[in-house]
């Protein structure tokens, strides 16, 4: 069965601090995709990144970076120099092999960036 675990329910940091959101996943598929989404108070899910299971390179996009480690089934997300606008709920998610479009979401981590 596929499962995504985000152990951190809620995190609060002071602005400009770095923060890492943890994600651990379970799947029996050899080909799969991992995602991170941001959900601001407005409710709309904002796509941040998608990685496939064959690409373990870490990725950096501005203040955002992602660490994918297949050996530990983890796909962690780091925000560097956090800003108040980063306050939101962040979801890690998993989808299976091509042909299986459903996305399995974790329960999310609520991130508070304090000014």
């Amino acid at each position: 069965a596929q499962k995504v675990t985000q152990a951190q329910t809620e995190i609060s940091v002071v602005e400009k601090e770095d923060v890492t959101l943890d994600c651990v996943y379970e799947t029996r598929d050899t080909t799969y995709y991992l995602f991170w989404y941001k959900q601001p108070p407005s409710g709309e899910l904002v796509f941040l990144i998608r990685r496939n299971s064959f690409d373990e390179q870490n990725e950096i996009s501005g203040r955002y970076s992602w660490n994918f480690q297949k050996s530990t089934s983890s796909f962690n997300f780091t925000i560097t120099a956090s800003q108040v606008v980063d306050s939101a709920v962040y979801f890690c998610a998993l989808s299976g092999a091509p042909g299986d479009d459903k996305i399995i979401f974790g329960k999310g981590t609520r991130l508070h960036i304090l000014p």
Partner: protein, 115 residues
């Protein structure tokens, strides 16, 4: 380029009633997926429509049904509403189901409250 739109924004119903939610996919997209997000939880996959057929379904009872129209827009119907159906209902659209680039774009959601 219009993104995914959903209507209505908010809806209040009573137990036992029926409800219809609507979704227009992003321009050029032909596949629509529906998700239910209960308060404090991650979204859960309900089903996906492609070529006016239900292509994939999650673990939801038959009370949840859908439809896709020739213009790719979609409806989600829920019969015999229960209090537990109160949630944010998210629609996501994508271009080709099951493709390697099956990035799904989410709409702002419909907040359903069942009293």
């Amino acid at each position: 380029d219009a993104g995914v739109t959903q209507s209505p924004t908010h809806l209040i119903k009573t137990r036992g009633q029926q409800v219809t939610l609507r979704c227009s996919p992003k321009s050029g997209h032909d596949t629509v997926s529906w998700y239910q997000q209960a308060l404090g939880q991650g979204p859960q996959f309900i089903f996906q429509y492609y070529e006016e057929e239900e292509r994939q379904r999650g673990n939801f009872p038959d009370r949840f049904s859908g439809h896709q129209f020739p213009n790719y827009s979609s409806e989600l119907n829920v019969n015999a509403l229960l209090l537990g159906d109160s949630a944010l209902y998210l629609c996501a659209s994508s271009l080709i189901p099951g493709g390697a680039h099956n990035e799904q774009f989410f709409g702002p959601g419909t907040r359903l409250t069942v009293l």
